[in-house]
């Protein structure tokens, strides 16, 4: 059996995904530091987002309630959809990949674009490939129908929050840091109407009851189109999202 590590390491010297006001800076403090321990965001590094992240689905399952067989040694189909910087994953791409992979009932679905195999520079988030809303509207109901309620992807973004978050935040020059005063002020003015537009793709999957994992790495090392996956988030009581470890198993 071959194991493939699909997890982005949590690096206290800096993470490529800490560029938006919605992110938290991963911090590791030595034992004699006032802040001894670690600070981590619910979407730091490779992360699992449950539908209950969104208010509309807050009555659905939480991190400490997810049945283990949804996350551990789960069969998965790999959809190879190679994409370059900033490219869209379209409905046509998804249709074609689904036809080729033919996920079994109950499989998780892993979309491998190769973005997670690239060096993670400043463009990791801002230039990430992403699903179009049309692709999500096509994929989500099919996944629901086929009980494929776990979607994994090796991009920084699932959908592109380009209605408000990206253009507005990018207009700050120089770009402020995550958790900065500017980030707090931005979030203070950011509201649910803006979030609905920015996270429309994620909401499509959440509505279909699909759990989402982003920021996988090294998916290029997976050689088979049928694998098993282990997704291991923190077991946070009533939590809705968490950094996680993801490992692929190939027979």
């Amino acid at each position: 059996m071959k194991f493939v590590e699909l997890t982005m390491p949590l690096n206290y010297r800096g993470m490529p995904d800490e560029v938006l006001p919605t992110s938290v800076r991963f911090f590791l403090g030595p034992k004699n530091h006032q802040e001894k321990g670690m600070v981590i965001g619910s979407d730091s590094g490779t992360c699992l987002m449950l539908p209950s992240v969104f208010e509309a689905f807050r009555k659905t399952v939480r991190l400490d309630q997810v049945p283990l067989d949804k996350l551990v040694l789960r069969s998965a189909s790999v959809l190879a959809i190679a994409k370059a910087e900033a490219e869209e994953i379209t409905k046509f791409d998804v249709q074609k990949a689904l036809e080729a992979a033919r996920p079994a009932n109950g499989d998780a679905i892993l979309i491998a674009t190769s973005w997670g195999d690239m060096p993670h520079g400043e463009s990791y988030v801002f230039r990430s490939p992403h699903l179009t809303l049309e692709a999500a509207q096509y994929l989500a109901p099919r996944m629901k129908e086929n009980q494929n309620d776990l979607l994994l992807i090796d991009t920084a973004l699932l959908g592109r929050p380009d209605k408000h978050l990206l253009p507005e935040w990018s207009s700050f020059l120089p770009l402020p840091a995550a958790e900065s005063a500017e980030a707090r002020m931005y979030l203070h003015l950011y509201d649910s109407e803006k979030a609905k537009k920015d996270f429309a793709v994620e909401l499509e999957f959440a509505e279909a009851g699909i759990m989402m994992v982003r920021k996988l790495v090294h998916c290029g090392e997976i050689k088979k189109d049928k694998i098993k996956l282990i997704v291991s988030p923190l077991k946070v009581v009533r939590g809705v999202a968490s950094t996680c470890r993801v490992v692929a198993l190939e027979d």
Binding site: K36, I40, V236
Partner: protein
């Protein structure tokens, strides 16, 4: 195949983050995006390497201090260096040692459990007292760690020797603390001069004063460390597992996945038992 979650949950105010002066700090969960304002929830989590059910390598203080907890440890992998083969579907023997609360496992009890177990070369080791449960952790708070069973130094030394002979790398237990509370909490919550009321951990004034008194971040007991004996011979020490009585057999396969922290030495971890 049956999957069993042996992981202590993470929640704000959890006893493991409140009981000791240095080794673990309080869990703090702060929402910074809210359902009512943003239509979605995002959380900033302040954790520690020993939050929940921890996974701790001998060089636990990494990346800031490469000194191992004990000199000359058998293993020296950091969190991001451990091969996945050493963490996933590991054959594990269960050492059943049924003891009441606050009991210190003795060398005789350890020896008897080893003899009785189906312990094979290369096995990982899970010490099961049956005491550690999620319900008990929720109910008892910090008392969970005051009343937990633990391992006497001589029993730990005996097990460490056996693990070395058998080529075992992972030590796991459902005890809340490996060191006896009288050792780990000496003159903090146990000993001749426990602090009353119970102080907050580091960076509280009391914890800082303790550093002044002891000269370092030590448990301050004259007794030797049971955990120290074990970690010299283990790839990682893992404590505070729960609900191990759900495992119906004396052998199991374990999936053990700590966070992938670059050059890290300790992390909250998930522990999943797989019964065929």
């Amino acid at each position: 195949m049956r999957l069993i979650d042996l992981t202590m949950p993470i929640w704000e105010g959890a006893g493991y983050g409140e009981i000791l002066p240095f080794t673990n700090s309080p869990v703090q969960l702060r929402e910074y995006m809210y359902y009512d304002r943003h239509g979605m929830r995002m959380t900033r989590m302040k954790l520690d390497g020993e939050t929940g059910s921890p996974f701790m390598v001998p060089h636990q203080r990494n990346p800031f201090d490469p000194t191992p907890l004990q000199p000359n440890p058998k293993f020296s992998w950091l969190l991001d260096e451990i091969p996945l083969e050493k963490l996933i579907l590991r054959e594990t023997t269960i050492l059943d040692i049924r003891v009441p609360e606050a009991h210190e496992i003795t060398p005789d009890e350890m020896e008897a459990a080893i003899k009785k177990a189906d312990y094979r070369k290369g096995d990982e080791v899970l010490i099961r007292t049956g005491w550690g449960t999620r319900e008990r952790a929720y109910e008892l708070g910090i008392d969970y760690y005051k009343r937990t069973p633990s391992i006497h130094f001589d029993a730990a030394a005996l097990l460490a020797k056996k693990m070395d002979e058998m080529g075992s790398a992972l030590f796991m237990t459902d005890c809340g603390l490996v060191n006896p509370p009288r050792v780990q909490g000496n003159n903090w919550f146990r000993g001749d001069t426990p602090l009353v009321p119970h102080p907050k951990p580091w960076p509280s004034a009391e914890a800082r004063e303790r550093v002044i008194d002891l000269g370092a971040h030590r448990h301050g007991s004259p007794q030797p460390s049971s955990y120290g004996a074990l970690i010299r011979k283990a790839m990682a020490g893992c404590k505070c597992l729960i609900d191990c009585d759900q495992i119906s057999t004396n052998r199991v396969k374990m999936i053990v996945l700590p966070l992938l922290i670059k050059k890290g030495g300790a992390s909250p971890c998930r522990f999943i038992a797989v019964e065929e």
